[in-house]
């Protein structure tokens, strides 16, 4: 038995795992013991304590009377908000630039190349500071705000937009929107099936737009126009009323979008170039116009190459959002840092950081993996 290499291997593996577990246990135990000796409070009970500080950007109700736990949730939501907005913009911009790099138009091709080379080769922190100190801080002060159409303003305190005030009865509008979306989806399905069966086409896009816009409009009229608009007004210090997108959010969002878009552009270009040339020749031979061929033949195949590295870029963008700390955007890392400093509970806060970033990243991964399986080559 002792000379059986397989058994011996297993035994040694078990010993190793046991040693590793003992080592980790020893470190954790030692840490707790030492914290106790240094008279530093431990445990997560501090999360229920009163935070005492204010946060300017928040998506949920929060005041200095709220708990540390709630402050952390505000931070998580801010991180999620900037990451989600950044991912959407970076994807759109990245696809445009990536296709632009393959364009037949010399100017577009060169512009796209210049964009990629510029943003890909600058560290993200510099891009953020460029937007914050180089662009948004140079905007005029509140008193000389730039007036934009529709009652919005731009100044060095950010972007001020009119805000819709939803009064009772406005649920009809949302209901109309949801019904419109559902009907469009059903319509698109039916139209595709009919085209498969009979070859007849149906103007899906136009009908969908009519449904998605028209139904909420009907709801709006039926409920007696229950929406008013709150325009920004000039106050003593700032513009009051309306909605304020702060320069911290704007610069972080723009920087992350522009930076990540450069990488996405390269991924898209690689994906499209990865589709064999024969496919392009084949759809031309079938008589498809080039934009239709691109949409029906090239892009679906390119997507299979694009999605896996795209997921990595999304994760990078989310993690890069912690650079917000340099410009004072209250993301998870900034708020967590403040809490760490107020309570002194470094280990607990760092554990929370790790758990939250890990959860957000794993969630993104799972979504993208699901999308990938949907797009993957289906053998029929």
């Amino acid at each position: 038995m002792i000379y059986d290499p397989r058994v011996r291997g297993i035994v040694f593996q078990i010993i190793l795992v046991a040693l590793l577990a003992a080592g980790i246990w020893w470190i954790v135990d030692n840490t707790i013991e030492n914290l106790r000796r240094s008279n530093i409070t431990t445990g997560f009970a501090f999360l229920r304590g009163r935070a005492g500080f204010d946060i300017s950007d928040r998506l949920i109700e929060y005041s200095s009377d709220s708990s540390y736990g709630r402050a952390l949730i505000v931070g998580v939501l801010n991180t999620a908000a900037v990451a989600a907005a950044g991912i959407v913009t970076a994807t759109i911009l990245g696809f445009l630039v990536g296709v632009g790099r393959l364009s037949n138009n010399w100017l577009i091709r060169k512009l796209a190349t210049a964009y990629v080379e510029l943003f890909r080769n600058i560290p993200p922190l510099l891009v953020i500071l460029f937007w914050y100190q180089g662009v948004l801080a140079l905007l005029p002060s509140v008193r000389d705000s730039v007036s934009l159409p529709l009652g919005s303003y731009l100044n060095n305190r950010g972007f001020y937009l009119p805000r819709f005030v939803w009064e009772p009865g406005s649920w009809l509008i949302f209901a109309g929107f949801v019904v419109g979306l559902a009907l469009s989806w059903y319509l698109a399905r039916r139209a595709r099936m009919r085209q498969m069966a009979t070859g007849q086409q149906f103007p899906v896009l136009l009908t969908s737009i009519a449904l998605v816009v028209g139904l909420p409009l009907l709801g709006f009229l039926a409920a007696g126009m229950p929406v008013s608009v709150d325009f920004p007004q000039k106050g003593t210090f700032n513009l009051t009323g309306g909605m304020n997108v702060k320069p911290e959010f704007l610069s972080l969002y723009l920087a992350l979008s522009f930076y990540t878009a450069a990488f996405i552009a390269e991924i898209v270009r690689a994906g499209i170039m990865g589709v064999p040339r024969g496919q392009t020749e084949a759809y031309s031979a079938l008589g498809l116009r080039s934009n239709l061929g691109l949409r029906l033949v090239v892009i679906p195949q390119a997507m299979r190459i694009i999605i896996p590295p795209l997921t990595s870029q999304y994760l990078n963008l989310t993690k890069n959002s912690s650079l917000a700390v340099a410009i004072g955007y209250p993301d998870l890392y900034a708020i967590g840092g403040t809490i760490l400093n107020q309570t002194g509970q470094a280990i607990e806060v760092v554990v929370i950081f790790m758990v939250v970033y890990l959860s957000i990243s794993i969630l993104t991964s799972l979504l993208m993996n699901w999308f990938n399986t949907k797009m993957a080559l289906k053998e029929r």
Binding site: S141, N156, T236, F237, I327, N341
Partner: protein, 382 residues
């Protein structure tokens, strides 16, 4: 693991991560089947070695802070990254300021040489972790003494080197007619993260039922730059800090400090809990600085004063026969002489860094000695 270990989490983690990744790498590598036994043995040996290394590491730093400092040969002092008058590098790259001079005084007490000190610039956010983890031996970084920091954070404050209070500064050119903090409703206020300032700000606006918009930066410099660029209407920190920040603005004369003081900010040096000997040394260095000012012992006349017949001064300077004050503290008997030679007394430190002899020109005010109507009161050295 019986004795007291120093918590150096950062280094601990690095060590731990190193161990784990080394083991993992081995595990996933391709190994031919017939050599598996050998491979496992090697892996095991590696694991034991790393564990042993960890054990040695973890038990290394067990002596008291004074012994550690003496063994190192210098004092590691945590200071602000750049607050004029308190701690900032000058044009020659030397650290200057009231907080810096306090560390020099402690170094002089320990080594008889005020230059045996190294400075670590810390942000408000990093400062406590740096002290707790043993990265610095003393934190002298315009830090407010609060009960939370004294208890939950495991610190001990050795005294108050500067009695301060929080105030506001505005750009009077951009905001004419604002002459009170109570007129700041709706303002955007620049503030540094993780400070008592941030908490007082929230409390003050809440108590006065005013709205405001906090713009929170991790670093002092970032907050200053944002205020100077007009991102905020007002800037808030301790009043001494406001005067220092004003000097750094592009047009210092445009900025005014509003009269309201909204909090008590006793700033002082702190050390880790659980090392009373080290705590005593730092605490009595502070009192020595005050007592020498009270007795009229200065950097210039200290050698002359050693010949004084006044029993108070003799005791203070350790020239009394059979004196044990210095050795009881774990220092030499001429520790006070060394302190005064290195930095001067408290009054001299104050005047040089923040007082009338400095660009800040702050009057002694409540920081005067108790004999002159101030709050600085040195416990008797006897």
């Amino acid at each position: 693991m019986g004795e007291r270990l120093r918590v150096d989490l950062d280094a601990m983690f690095r060590k731990w991560a190193g161990t784990v990744s080394r083991v993992r790498k081995k595990k996933s590598g391709y190994v031919p089947n017939n050599r598996k036994g050998f491979w496992v043995m090697k892996q095991l040996a590696l694991g034991i070695l790393s564990a042993a290394a960890l054990g040695v590491f973890a038990t290394a730093a067990s002596a008291g802070t004074l012994e550690d400092v003496k063994a190192k040969g210098f004092l590691q002092c945590g200071v602000n990254t750049g607050l004029a008058g308190f701690s900032a590098p000058n044009d020659k790259g030397d650290w200057t300021g009231l907080d810096v001079d306090f560390c020099r005084a402690v170094a002089a007490a320990v080594f008889g040489d005020g230059t045996k000190v190294k400075f670590t610039g810390l942000s408000a956010k990093d400062r406590f972790t740096a002290l707790q983890s043993g990265e610095v031996d003393i934190l002298s970084r315009n830090t407010t003494w609060t009960v939370n920091r004294d208890t939950a954070l495991g610190l001990n404050f050795a005294g108050v080197t500067y009695y301060d209070g929080q105030g506001f500064m505005i750009n009077a050119k951009k905001l004419p007619g604002v002459n009170s903090a109570l007129q700041l409703s709706g303002a955007a206020v620049c503030v540094q993260a993780g400070t008592t300032t941030e908490l007082n700000l929230a409390d003050y606006f809440k108590a006065n039922k005013m709205e405001y918009n906090p713009v929170v930066f991790e670093k002092f410099e970032e907050a200053n730059a944002a205020y100077d660029a007009g991102r905020c209407d007002a800037y808030t920190t301790d009043q001494s800090g406001l005067y220092a920040v004003r000097l750094q603005m592009s047009a210092p004369d445009d900025h005014v400090v509003l009269p309201e003081i909204i909090s008590k900010e006793p700033l002082g040096p702190s050390v880790r809990q659980g090392d009373d000997k080290w705590f005593d040394i730092v605490k009595w260095t502070y009192y020595a600085l005050l007592n020498t000012e009270e007795a009229g012992v200065t950097q210039a006349n200290v050698d002359e004063m050693k010949n004084s017949d006044n029993p108070d001064i003799k005791r203070l300077l350790g020239t009394e026969a059979e004196t044990k004050i210095g050795t009881d503290l774990g220092l030499s008997n001429d520790w006070v002489v060394n302190i005064v030679k290195a930095t001067g007394n408290y009054g001299e430190i104050f005047e040089r860094n923040v007082g009338t002899g400095s660009p800040l020109k702050i009057s002694r005010g409540i920081n005067a000695l108790w004999t002159k109507g101030g709050l600085q009161y040195g416990m008797p050295i006897r």
